[in-house]
Each structure stands twice: as C-alpha cells, then as structure tokens.
Symmetry: C2
Subunit: 405 residues, 2 copies
C-alpha cells in the first residue's frame, strides 16, 4: 500500500487530448498494456528524458521526433522497455511509429514512442501493430483513468491527478498521470509521466516551464539512487480552447508554471509513496546552506545512506547515522559545531552534538510516523533544498533479489 | 562466516612492540575490550584518519598527539566509540592518555587513543583507569592475537596477518590487525587497523608509505558507502633491530612500501569478507578509462547500486542493472557502443548491448560463486582501477534495522 495515497482520483478531460488503452498482449495477460494519446493539431509538446548514457531505443527515437515535427500521438507500452536491444530495438521503435502514422494519416515523426518494462527483450512489434486499430477507434477524452492503469508495471496503484488553475482571469485544466515505483524497479525501466493542459504556449516557453518543474520535483526524489534507462516526462499544451498564447515571463506564464510545478511535485511524491517495499515517506530538508548544490549534496547523502534508510525502516531515531552522513557529505570547511538536526519538530542534534533537551521517546514518537521530515541546519548560509525518499526494508531486498523470471 | 577466510593465522611478534589485552568492562562482559600497544623508544608512527567531518574525540586527540611527540603507547578500547560526545568526550579521551602516561612515565602526548563501539555514550574513564595496571603488567611481544580479538565489536572473526619481507638483503617482519565489518556497522564506529614492522624509517617517509598503501586498499573498499566517525589506520616502524634507516626513494623503501601495500590490501579485503550480511566478495575492476577518477566513479556507482547489490545476493546475472549503473555514473562523453562488461571470464555486454555469444547459464554459473569479478571496459583510455565490495542481503537489513538497545 502506498503511504498517504490510496486510489486514483477522478481525472478530468483536457480539451485537445484523447486517449485509448488496449490489451495488446505485449507481456501481460488480461490487462491493457498499450496507450494511444492523441494531441489536437497545434498542440505544443515539451519533454525531459533520462540522463542515463544507456538510454533505451524509444528515448532516442522520441528525442529525434520531438525535434523534427509537432507530435500528434504518444504511443506508450508497458511490459517491455525496449532497452539494451541495440540497432534492432531502434528499428522496432521506429516501426511502431511508422505503423501508427500510416493508420492515422500523420508523419512517423509526429509519433513519440515510450516503453517501460523488462530490459533486454525485443519489442513484439506485431502485437503492437495488431492493437492499433482498436486503439484509434477507442480514443476518448475521458480515457485518462484507463491509461493511468495501462502504463503501470510493478506499481501497486495507478497514479494521477487533475487540477484547475486560473491565469489571466481564465480557467485551465491540467491532468497528469505517472508510473514508477522507486527510481527503478527490478529490471523495469521505469518512470514515465504525462501531463496535459489546455493552455496555449509556445514550445520554447513550454520546455522551460517543464524543465523548471522537473528540477523541483522528479529530480528531487530518490528511492535507491538508481536512474532508469527509459525515464521520460512529457508536458502537452493543447491550446485547444483557442485562448491567447501565454507568453514566457507574463503573469499568466508564472501561474501556469506554478500549476505545472505543483502537479509535478505531487506526481513525483506519488512515486516515492509507492516505492518498493517502502513503509515511510521521508522529506529531507537541508537549510542554511551556501548554495543549492551543497544542500542537495547533504540531502542525497542522507537519503542514500543504507544505514539511515534501515534506521527509518526500524523507526529508530538513530541520530548518529544522520550525523555521520552529514559529516561525510564532502562539504568543504563544514563547521560541525554549527549544525542542528531535527526530526519534525524534535531537535536531536544542536551545536554538533546531541541536543541537551533531547529525549529518546520524542525521537521515537516522530520515527514511528508514516511521514517524517528530517531537517538539517548547516548554519552557513540562507539557501534551502528538499528532496523526498523512502526507507530500506526487508521487502526492498526481497523484491529486488527475486529472480527475473 | 566471512567469505574465503575462516580463522586468525599465527601473528608474529615485531621487535619493539609489546601488547596487552584486558577486560575493562567498558561495555562487554567476560571479554577483553582494552588494548595497550607499547612502542619501543625511537619508533616512528604514521596514521591516516577518517575524513568524516564529524570525527570522534579520540581521533581529534590522536591527531594532536601524533603531531606533538613521538608516541610510546596506543590505547585502544572497543564497545564505546566516544563519538558525538562533545567537549566532555574530548576531556575523557585526554584523561585516559594522561592516566596511562602517569602510570608508564611518558608524556600524555605520547599516548594515542582509539575507540570503537557505540556512538553517543560517555566513555567510562574510571573503568579504563582501573584496567591500566593490569595492562602495563601484561605487555608481551606475543600479544597480537589477543589484541586482534579485543578490538572486535560486531566482527564475526578476528582479522590479522603476518608477513616477512626482504629489503636490501635484510629480512623484516610485518604484523597487522584490523577490525571492522562493513565501512560502518550499526552504530559501531568502525574501522581500526594497526600495522607494525621492525624497519627503521623516518616519519615523513613512513607517512607517505602509509598514505599510498591506504589509497590502494582501505580507500578501495565499500560495503554500504558509509564512512565512520572513528576510522583510523596506524603504521609503526620500530627500527628496533638497529638496522640502517630506510631512505625514501631507495630500493629498500620500495620493498617496504610494497609489503605495506600488500598487507593493507589483504586487511582491507578481510573487512569486506566479514561485511554485514555479506554472502559475496566482489571485485569491481574498471579498465580502459582516461584517468583513475573516472574508473573509480564507474566502479563505485556499480558497487553502491542497491539493485546491483541485490542481484549479487540473488546470484542473478542481471546485466541490465550493471549497464544502467555504468550509464548513470556521470562520465562525460561516454560512448556506450565501446563498452564491454564481463562477469569473470564471461562477456555479458559488448559494443553497448548484450553480447551475441552470451548465454544465461554462463552468467548464472559465475554469479553462483562466492567470489566474483565484475570487469567493465570503457574503451577510452588505458587506466585501470579496482575496488572490493559485498552484496546487499536480507541480513544486512536485519542487522541494521535491529534496534540499538
């Protein structure tokens, strides 16, 4: 069960987007595993992809197609990542685009392919092809919920949200869905996020909006520090309601960016809430740093420490492990005598040592919660950063040690 | 049970070193927990300490004393790390040095204190004091084996070695002991290593010899990426056999350095072999890099990946996880099409994709072994580096999630 999230809320249609989900039999039986997402003509599309040097075939093709033309379709499959498949995998990804283009009457470069699932197996292109007609026939504005289910792999729950927001006196709708459970699931190449809104925005401004949002959301979560070969986040602005273009730098643009950022933060947190074997949702906030880089360095050192993560799993207010992680984060000229560490509102370390007023039962109370904030005050500046992570449980090892078959 | 190591071998006396182990009752019952190591007058002493900014009180005092005077005694206790204890902890460490100095007739600055054990509790100075007379009375040249046991905390086995080596036609004896199991055990502030030989070397040359050796040994192991607050490695050259001084840069010096390096590598590997919950001893060797830094970056990314570590535990030849770790190591302009990955002699990845000749059963065979070499060829230079690590098992989580009490 995810932490603090139980079930998919109602997802509102976004004018200019239609979706269909089909059971193509790519890997799973008796469930949808192929999603077509149709974007109205004139839609703008921004995307951020994995920085892993070993990126999957669909990532390479999607990048190329996005640069070449305005996309009209996103073609997403679960069950097979088409990663580690070499030149043949690239051809497979291109071929699925060409097939959908042929049937729908657009150019192959107007189709962006996305895959998530097992690494190292060829994508069964024939099964994708056989499912396309049903997909095109089934496109509907209210297809978001079925799609949020169809893109799942080892997620325990479908994840998405809808928001309305006002910009320049007009109301807009934003709907998003995400899959992923941990930065990477066992052999599942992993995070995919799709967000659409009905605003009209130029491509450059939209890309900037997405990159800023991702920096503060999907790039601020970590489960195990592993980055997948297939990660992608797509933001669509359909402009379908024929409203004026939102210009970069305008007040309307700021409202849009804030809505996208908030949606990305919630969607990113949903991944951590559904992380492998997670029993805790943990915010690591580092304050009073000289710059964002050193705040993040400390935050990730804490979040990646197996000792901190097992202490979180054990609900053990083990301040020695947090303190040791801060100490080895590699911050230059760190004055340990100025450091304070809090678990929620409980001060555990002050002036570099255990706080005089600290009582084990207070730390124990916070650590027993499902959701915990670890706050570290560096005492050397006024910059803050925060990231979100989970604990390291028996189930994490069990899930990841189970043999692939 | 450690991997490929069962029991402490005979440890040879080193002329100029006498040791005693005493049951001081610092934390443990019915076992020795305090070691006195006496160095003959004129001995030279080199040391490398933790780089963790939160270093323990004994580390601060040992550093100061080492800089001030020639040490005559090492005073080592297990069961209590005297870490996170603030100003009071510093006084405690200084007081134990002063007490031993008073009883033995040297200056307090000639005593180096070392502590390992639980973090955040005051060192019971009275119990140390009460044990010093018995310690001084019990000093003996053949005290190494008892000492190797007395410095253990959660180690499952005592760890040490002896070697003789020839330099300039003369034979020397080198004996070392180490404690630590994982870079850090739960709340146990962790790695201590003591190596002595009967060569005569000036302090500067000895320090250089140790630093080079540590760089290739203790700084090349990782269990969970955590660095303790108390780590220390000491190298003593007693010169007790009244042989000529070994000069830096000489052939004799190279022979000494090689002997120290080899001893450090073996001792460092013993820590990994006895790592928490470890079922595999894994060498990660990265070849054909442009420089050592990028080789180590790739090696540590693999060694710290929880997904690779759980695959090792599961004996799963999961090349997708190793490949993904290489891809996210952050190497600039990495050409994935030139990369090859081997498990021992089995090629699993070539030219950036799964090797044509690879068969799952071959990978399975290697992964089922207790000791495994993961070799990554980057295809962009001629530098190699290697590190040693262990897997991530159910027992790792169990050991580290158990509550402190």
């Amino acid at each position: 069960m995810p932490i603090g999230y139980s079930t998919l809320p109602d997802l509102l249609p976004v004018a200019g987007v239609r979706l269909a989900s089909v059971a193509a039999g790519i890997r799973y039986q008796d469930r949808d595993d192929l999603v077509l997402m149709e974007l109205a003509e004139g839609s703008r599309c921004a995307a951020v992809f994995t920085r892993n040097a070993f990126c999957a075939a669909p990532v390479i093709v999607a990048r190329q197609h996005l640069a070449a033309r305005q996309p009209r379709y996103l073609l997403i499959n679960s069950g097979n990542a088409n990663a580690g498949t070499g030149a043949a995998g690239l051809q497979d990804a291109q071929q699925t685009c060409a097939l959908l283009a042929g049937k729908s009457g657009c150019a192959a470069e107007q189709v962006l392919p996305f895959s998530t699932g097992v690494i190292g197996e060829r994508l069964p292109v024939g099964r994708v092809e056989a499912a396309l007609d049903a997909g095109l026939a089934g496109l509907a504005a209210d297809g978001w919920e079925a799609a949020a289910h169809a893109i799942m792999t080892t997620d325990t729950v479908a994840k998405g949200l809808s928001r309305t927001f006002t910009a320049g006196g007009r109301q807009f709708t934003l709907t998003g869905m995400v899959k992923g459970a941990g930065m990477i699931r066992p052999d599942m190449a992993t995070m995919l996020a799709y967000i659409a809104c009905d605003a009209r925005v130029e491509a450059g401004a939209l890309q900037q909006c997405l990159e800023q949002a991702v920096a503060q959301s999907f790039n601020r979560i970590t489960v195990d520090g592993d980055t997948s070969t297939n990660d992608a986040c797509v933001l669509v602005a359909t402009g379908a309601q024929d409203k004026p273009v939102i210009q970069a730098g305008s007040e309307e643009y700021e409202a849009l960016c804030e809505a996208v950022r908030a949606a990305c933060v919630t969607l990113a947190q949903l991944i951590v809430r559904d992380a492998e074997g997670a029993t805790k949702f943990v915010t690591v906030r580092v304050e009073q740093g000289r710059d964002a880089a050193e705040c993040l360095q400390v935050a990730y050192t804490i979040a990646h420490s197996p000792l901190v993560k097992t202490a979180l799993f054990a609900s053990d207010p083990n301040w020695g492990r947090i303190l040791a992680a801060v100490g080895r984060a590699g911050i230059e000229a760190l004055d340990i005598d100025r450091i304070a560490i809090f678990l929620d509102d409980v001060c555990i370390v002050r002036d570099g040592g255990v706080a005089a007023e600290y009582r084990e039962q207070d730390g124990q109370r916070v650590m027993s919660q499902d959701e915990i904030v670890i706050r570290v005050l560096l005492g050397r500046g006024d910059i803050s950063e925060q990231i979100w992570t989970s604990d390291l449980s028996h189930d994490y090892v069990r899930i990841n040690a189970e043999y692939r078959t």
